[in-house]
């Protein structure tokens, strides 16, 4: 039956330069960098916040506790600094270590902190009250430096430690001796973690290049061992408890615990990967390396979706989540140079406010009051709509039929017929010259080169290009020429521009003598084209050289 009038479809051009993706935009939105240099520029060795090992496995009380928590711990040299997540400020410093401190970890309820140190001591501090941290407990069982101390995500009083004495131990807070000792590593154990969702499983990575999985219930050695080529710097279990990441040398290996086999080796870093962290509720993994790069991976195919570069080798990083939704709040990166970089992402309402403020500020500076007024109007309208929607929503509770207003019908209402834009109507009704004028107008609000290209290609398909270009005077032909000059060097636009240039030459070359402007523009175009020709020739020459090299290579 009678078909509906469709507006002219815009062309889809092949992508040339990759545009900024949503993911990149997200990671770029970590802004407002705040740098904090540690005392005496000690390298930042560890950053942690409660629930960083994923709260999904934790019991309800722990989750509730973690929600209330506002602290994260940064370990550097013989100190552990405690910061506020909300205020991004240093709250207190714990300096009661005999030697270098390692792995300052705050418990999920935010009350106590555990840290190991170079001497082999492990200490538990009270961080909840007072400005000075009180030592609650000290163990000195490990005879070698303790590198990892971690709280169990399931039980408040359980924690683990990994040490250079090649052992992994499990501790109960009240008792003085470890409740379990796992031995089997052949070298320093420098990383370890509890497996989420599997409370009795621990995992550790050592300089003997193995990742071992331990079961607290099973006697004896490790239940699973993965051997790698390089020392393990960091292990990170993913939520779900079946997949494990291990940083080995400059690569990250993805291990499947169920199938007991490595899935994949991610080799995106150039130097040793020192740290790994979960982000976006476990849907992304962020890695930091000695090459100074932070890379963000997605967790299905392990593609890099974003990345950034820091000035110094990265020793530690953490994506600190905050609030009920566990939204990413800070990207904290600790570097060899002793600098802690905190980048913060504003979320939700606060972000919106900040944006609005920024635009208003900018306009205020420019003094463009009319635009300000427009923004105010739009704001008022939005508010009104929101109010009317709200009243509708209230009505909905006791009326049967809700008649949607303009703002509400877009969601579930019937499809509204799209109104044709002026240039689309011109095109449909055969006023091709007028249509071309409006789409080629640079100064127009809606100007988009691809729209212009779509129209030109459609004109070619409709054998109407010449008709659209003919019969113009000096004033109306110049925009066409300028457009051609601007885009003739873009390969995606070249064919259409060339056709158009031919047609323009054919129609208007006889008037060049009478119009300097026209002559100038034609000269500019000729210049641009000849430059392109030179470039093409250079490319051909280069290609020829490369080809001869390649042939030489294959023969050799």
């Amino acid at each position: 039956m009678a078909a509906e009038v469709q507006p002219l479809a815009t062309l889809k051009l092949p992508t040339v330069v990759s545009p900024i993706t949503a993911e990149q935009r997200y990671w770029k939105s970590f802004k407002n960098q705040k740098s904090h240099t540690s005392t005496a520029a000690w390298p930042i060795s560890h950053i942690s916040f409660p629930g960083s090992s994923n709260g999904s496995a934790a019991s309800h009380s722990l989750v509730a506790a973690a929600k209330a928590n506002d602290l994260f711990a940064v370990t550097s040299g013989p100190r552990v600094d405690i910061f506020s997540i909300r205020k991004r400020e240093l709250l207190k410093t714990i300096g009661r270590f005999d030697s270098e401190a390692h792995s300052g970890e705050i418990r999920a309820d935010g009350r106590v902190l555990v840290a190991g140190e170079g001497s082999g001591k492990m200490q538990v501090f009270d961080v909840g009250t007072g400005t000075r941290a009180v030592i609650l407990k000290t163990w000195h069982i490990h005879k070698q430096p303790v590198w990892v101390t971690k709280w169990s995500p399931a039980e408040l009083t359980t924690l683990m430690s990994c040490s250079d004495d090649k052992t992994v131990r499990l501790w109960d807070l009240p008792s003085n001796a470890p409740s379990r000792m796992f031995s089997g590593h052949q070298d320093y154990v420098r990383s370890g973690a509890f497996m989420p969702d599997r409370n009795n499983l621990l995992v550790s990575g050592s300089y003997d290049s193995t990742v071992r999985v331990w079961d607290a219930r099973a006697p004896g050695g490790s239940v699973l061992t993965f051997k790698h080529a390089d020392p393990i710097e960091e292990v990170l279990p993913l939520s779900g408890g079946t997949t494990l990441l291990a940083a080995t040398g400059s690569a990250i290996s993805v291990l499947d615990l169920v199938a007991a086999k490595p899935l994949r080796l991610i080799t995106n870093h150039q130097k040793t990967v020192t740290t790994l962290s979960l982000a976006s509720n476990g849907r992304r993994v962020v890695s930091g390396s000695l090459d100074g790069h932070v890379k963000v991976f997605e967790t299905t195919n392990w593609n890099v979706v974003s990345g950034s570069k820091y000035p110094s080798p990265i020793l530690s990083l953490s994506v600190i989540a905050y609030g009920a939704g566990h939204e990413d709040r800070h990207l904290a990166v600790g570097m060899q140079s002793g600098v802690l970089s905190l980048r913060t992402r504003l979320s939700g309402a606060s972000a919106e406010k900040a944006r609005a403020r920024a635009t208003e500020d900018a306009l205020m500076v420019e003094g463009a009051t009319s635009k300000l007024a427009k923004i105010d109007q739009a704001k008022a309208k939005r508010k009104r709509n929101a109010v009317s929607n709200k009243s509708m929503a209230l009505l909905g509770e006791n009326v049967d039929v809700i008649i949607p207003t303009d703002a509400t019908n877009s969601a579930g209402g019937r499809k509204r017929r799209v109104k044709l834009k002026p240039w689309q109507r011109d095109f449909r009704e055969g006023r091709y010259a007028a249509c071309l004028d409006s789409v080629l107008d640079f100064s127009s609000q809606e100007y988009q080169p691809v729209t212009a290209l779509s129209v030109l290609v459609a004109l070619r398909h409709r054998s109407a290009l010449r008709e659209a270009l003919e019969g113009r005077d000096e004033v109306t032909v110049l925009p066409l020429l300028k457009w051609v000059i601007k885009y003739i060097s873009d390969p995606r636009y070249a064919t259409v521009c060339v056709d158009m240039a031919f047609q323009l030459f054919d129609i208007y070359s006889e008037y060049v003598g009478g119009s300097t402007e026209l002559a100038d523009q034609f000269a500019v175009m000729t210049g641009k084209v000849s430059r392109e020709v030179e470039k093409a020739q250079m490319a051909i020459i280069t290609n020829g050289m490369v080809e001869s090299l390649m042939i030489g290579g294959t023969e050799a």
Binding site: E4, P14, T21, V305, S463, D506
Partner: protein, 977 residues
């Protein structure tokens, strides 16, 4: 007349091989074989035919009796002297008694003849090029197809084949239909039973141009009188009146002769008025009432007046107003006439009779009222029932309603194709439109909503009459021949559906150098209805279809199409190049417009996801330049892997590309659709450059500009791809390993001339060029080869090869070479030959009265489906198969049922609304009930659907079984209703 060719294997040994050790091994093997010499091979190969008579006499019989006009027979006497040369006239009938059968054709193309409403408006009678088809207006289903033997099978040499010129409902007995054919045959059909197709009346004329039927009082009895417009001499024509008696005597009453060549004849008011239109003149004839009763047609006397009209007449409509005379008779009070013209104007002549010069009361200048909106020819114009409106239509695809009092126009825009005919129903409550895309619809006049839609197969046809557009010289010329094959494929998951690439109607698609076919028609052969149309190339039915210079806008042409093995993906190739008339300013240097146009050619390879439920298509990937050198190169072939979702394409750049799907990634992330489903995209997974022939044999120098031809075929297990490619001076078959992309082997000298098709069937490779060659890949030797007769360029395009893997057979179809005809125009015939792959004796040789435009294997059954240039579908099946394809079940059931069961049961038997039989049945048992209600009350339609849709039509159970199943459904019905 099968000529056995010497197997060509001589050059094997001298062949250079591109790939290492395995090739050299093979080479040695071949050299060994070479020692047995070609002569002995020839002996070997020709042995079967010699020994067959002894072994099996019947096979020899068929070999003797079969004869193909396709293949050359010059060597026949020498190789096989005992074969008889059959005389030339017997070329048309099947002389084959073997297992293969050809069904009756179905479908056809609606002619430019007004569709006819039955008086109760329940049926629409549409005149097709080879049949009359009766459709129910309630459910758009085919009730009856009355096949007419229009093309006489014995008139083989005649080129101007006859065609139907007019059809009209009998005015006195509305169950009958008069159909006139151009060669003077006139059928008197009972359309409610289908009787009368076999026994036409014949009148002795040069050519019938038009015919109308009126009911005239003859001896106080209403009888049909036919007014026939017939050609008299080259530049004059006659109107002759016949009644049934006169038809039997072949002698009618000459009413009028003119010196012009009129093309239209209309009559009104019981024969009191006849109007004939000749170019720019109208002839009006009024019946002279002598006051005495008319005893026979010889008593009919007419007074004729003629006057000039401003333009060429393309259509006209008369609206007489009658009044009762004092004596109780009827006479014409006044007549309104409207004519549509070739340049788009419509002229209205109100109260025409009073203005004619012969009229004494008030003679004046005949001044029509002009209505001009149409840009091109008015194809049809009609009065509305009340005379207040005019309805007109044409190539603008807009139905225009003119309100005559106010001059206001109303439009029903954007119909699917040119409006060819408009008919106002007898009660005036609906309009029937016939559109150029072989469809017809009934619109209700109140809401202008379609109530009936009949969509036939939309392939290009060779039409009998030139279009009304061509009366005026235009800046473009429409094409009157078919130069490219119909691109068609069958749906692997729904075997009853075939997909055809079609245009926006016949006229719109034949405006460029090649037909523009931007649409894909999904056609269901079991219900014989078009299921839907999808645009697969650029087309916009809502935009004007011509430029401001009056040239038509050329749309792309789909050149290749292939389904993936599971039917989930469709690959299509479409081509477009700017018309040369646009390119004058773009000429530089020594380039010709043709080259410039080629440079700007747009060739797209598109991959579509097919929705399983409704066969709708979703574009997944578009590859702009799948094959390219310095410009886009033609894609010669696209084939699908029979095992996995993969396609292979071959272009004139000499590269074979493999295309496979992968998950669509957006910035490294798998992107998902709105329902979270994973999206896929197609990309080139492998590219294999074919060795040029010049590299193989240094002696042959081929310039890169020589046109190349080529084709692809996957082996049945998908492990090997055969690519035949090269210039016509020597194409090479390259064997490619699909897993690695390595070239395993190259086989030269298998073909002669242009490659037209290649197929693989088990270990045999079937290559169609100017030879038909069957080559065994495993034993590396030629099995047999035939040479095709020399044909014209267009005929080469129309040579088809199709393979049916089920029956292990292949079919070759080609136009029969005709020395008197360069192009494939009306009258050209085709021949189809079916081979079993193991035997070199053809299984079936069949001549078709039209050119076969496409042939495809039927899915899931052992047979082929052919589409011809009259838009008919033929099914070619092995008779072991129960292939009652495309038969309107109404006909079959009725034939058989009369003998078997009481007619009451039959009437409701077929779902295809055989209400007509119901009527018959009802009369038999003297029923008062409305048959339709009974029909619905007894059996739910879905019960019938279960039986009839259990399998596609051609794979259905024997018709007898179906009958008993249906009868079973109805047997519970009390017989006393």
């Amino acid at each position: 007349m099968v000529e056995l060719r010497t197997p060509r294997k001589t050059s094997k040994a001298t062949k250079m091989d591109a790939n290492g050790e395995t090739a050299s091994l093979k080479k040695r093997k071949r050299e060994l074989k070479e020692e047995t010499t070609t002569a002995s091979q020839k002996r070997q190969r020709s042995k079967p035919t010699k020994t067959q008579p002894a072994a099996n006499g019947t096979v020899d019989d068929t070999a003797d009796s079969q004869e193909s006009t396709l293949f050359e027979n010059k060597d026949l006497q020498t190789t096989n002297g005992d074969l008889e040369l059959a005389d030339a006239s017997n070329a048309l009938t099947t002389r084959d008694t073997s297992a293969w059968k050809v069904s009756n054709p179905m479908g056809g193309r609606m002619l430019d003849i007004d569709p006819i409403f039955s008086l109760d408006e329940r049926y629409l009678l549409i005149t097709y090029n080879t049949s009359i088809q009766v459709y129910s207006t309630e459910d758009s289903l085919l009730v009856r197809r009355i096949s007419l033997p229009v093309t006489k099978l014995d008139s083989g040499a005649e080129l101007s084949s006859p065609y139907i010129v007019a059809s009209a409902l009998s005015a006195s007995t509305p169950d009958f239909l008069w159909v006139a054919c151009s060669d003077g045959r006139i059928w008197h059909l009972n359309w409610t039973t289908g009787e009368g197709a076999e026994t036409p009346f014949t009148i002795d004329v040069k050519k019938v141009l038009d015919m109308t039927v009126e009911s005239v009082d003859i001896r106080d009895k209403q009888e049909d009188v036919l007014f026939v417009l017939q050609k008299f001499t080259k530049s004059s024509a006659q109107i002759v009146a016949y009644d049934v008696k006169a038809l039997q005597k072949k002698a009618g009453k000459l009413i009028h002769t003119y010196d012009e060549n009129p093309q239209l004849l209309r009559s009104a008011a019981g024969g009191r008025l006849i109007v004939a239109a000749a170019k720019e003149t109208l002839h009006i004839g009024t019946l002279k009432s002598k006051g005495k009763t008319v005893k026979s047609v010889d008593d009919l006397e007419y007074a004729f007046h003629s006057f000039g009209v401003p333009d060429l007449v393309t259509c006209l409509d008369i609206r007489p107003t009658l009044q009762t005379t004092k004596k109780g008779g009827v006479e014409i009070q006044f007549v309104d006439l409207v004519i549509g013209c070739a340049r788009g104007a419509i002229y209205v002549y109100g109260d025409l009779l009073s203005k004619l010069p012969g009229n004494v009361t008030k003679a004046g200048p005949i001044q029509p009222r002009k209505l001009h909106w149409h840009r091109r020819a008015v194809h049809s114009v009609k009065w509305s029932e009340d005379g207040n409106y005019l309805i007109s239509g044409g190539a603008e695809t807009v139905l225009v309603l003119w309100q005559l009092d106010t001059g206001k126009r109303e439009f029903l825009p954007h119909l699917s194709a040119t409006i060819e005919n408009i008919v106002v129903s007898p009660k005036g409550s609906s309009y029937a439109l016939h559109l150029d895309d072989n469809s017809a619809m009934v619109l209700s006049t109140a809401e202008m909503k379609p109530t009936t839609y009949i969509s036939g197969i939309q392939s290009l046809v060779l039409s009998d009459k030139p279009s009304k557009e061509s009366l005026v010289r235009r800046v473009w010329r429409s094409v009157d021949e078919i130069t490219t094959p119909l691109i068609t494929t069958s749906n692997p998951i729904n075997p009853s559906q075939i997909f055809l690439c079609v245009g926006n109607g016949q006229q719109a698609s034949s405006t460029g150098n090649a037909p523009s076919t931007p649409l894909l028609q999904v056609f269901d052969v079991s219900s014989f209805q078009g299921v839907g149309k999808h645009p697969i190339a650029r087309t916009n039915p809502t935009d004007a279809n011509m430029t401001s210079q009056g040239a038509p806008i050329i749309e792309p042409r789909v050149t290749k199409m292939a389904f993936s093995h599971d039917g989930k993906w469709l690959a299509s190739v479409d081509e477009w190049q700017p018309p040369e008339r646009d390119l004058e300013p773009l000429l530089t240097g020594s380039k010709t417009t043709c080259e410039v146009s080629q440079e700007r050619r747009e060739i797209y390879l598109k991959f579509w996801e097919v929705e399983a439920e409704d066969s709708s298509l979703q574009l997944v990937s578009r590859i702009n330049e799948a094959h390219f050198t310095t410009q886009s190169e033609t894609i010669l072939d696209v084939v699908s892997d029979p095992i996995s979702s993969r396609f292979a394409s071959l272009g004139t750049d000499g590269v074979v590309r493999f295309w496979s799907p992968k998950l669509r990634r957006k910035d490294g992330l798998a992107s998902t659709g709105p329902e979270g489903q994973q999206l896929r995209t197609w990309s080139c997974s492998k590219a294999v450059e074919l060795p040029a022939y010049g590299q193989l044999e240094e002696a042959v120098e081929v310039s890169p500009k020589t046109p190349r031809s080529g084709a692809l075929a996957f082996s049945e297990d998908g492990s090997v791809l055969f690519a035949a490619y090269g210039p016509s001076s020597g194409a090479v078959v390259v064997v490619i390993d699909t897993a690695t992309g390595a070239i395993r082997d190259t086989i030269p000298n298998l073909s002669r001339g242009e490659i037209r098709g290649i197929e693989a069937l088990s270990s045999s490779l079937i290559l169609l060029s100017e030879d038909l060659t069957v080559y065994d890949i495993v034993s590396d030797e030629m099995q047999y080869s035939f040479a095709l007769k020399e044909t014209s360029g267009a005929a080469k395009q129309m040579t088809h090869l199709a393979v049916n893997r089920e029956s292990r057979s292949f079919a070759v179809a080609a136009p029969i070479p005709n020395s008197s005809q360069e192009k494939l125009k009306k009258g050209a015939k085709s021949e189809l030959v079916v081979f079993s792959v193991d035997e070199e004796v053809p299984q079936l040789i069949q001549t078709f009265p039209q050119v076969i435009t496409a042939i495809l294997p039927s899915t899931n059954s052992a047979g082929f489906v052919a589409v011809d240039s009259a838009a008919q579908i033929w099914s070619i099946t092995e008779s072991g198969e129960q292939a009652q394809m495309l038969q309107p079940l109404a006909d079959i059931n009725m034939e058989e049922s009369k003998a078997l069961v009481a007619p009451v049961d039959l009437a409701a038997e077929d779902g295809e609304a055989s209400d007509e039989e119901m009527q018959d049945a009802d009369e038999d048992v003297e029923m008062e009930d409305d048959d339709y209600d009974v029909h619905q009350a007894v059996v739910a339609p879905q019960r019938l659907a279960e039986i009839f849709n259990a399998a596609p039509a051609f794979a259905m159970a024997p018709i007898e079984d179906v009958f008993y199943q249906v009868a079973g459904l109805f047997s519970t019905r009390p017989s006393t209703i």
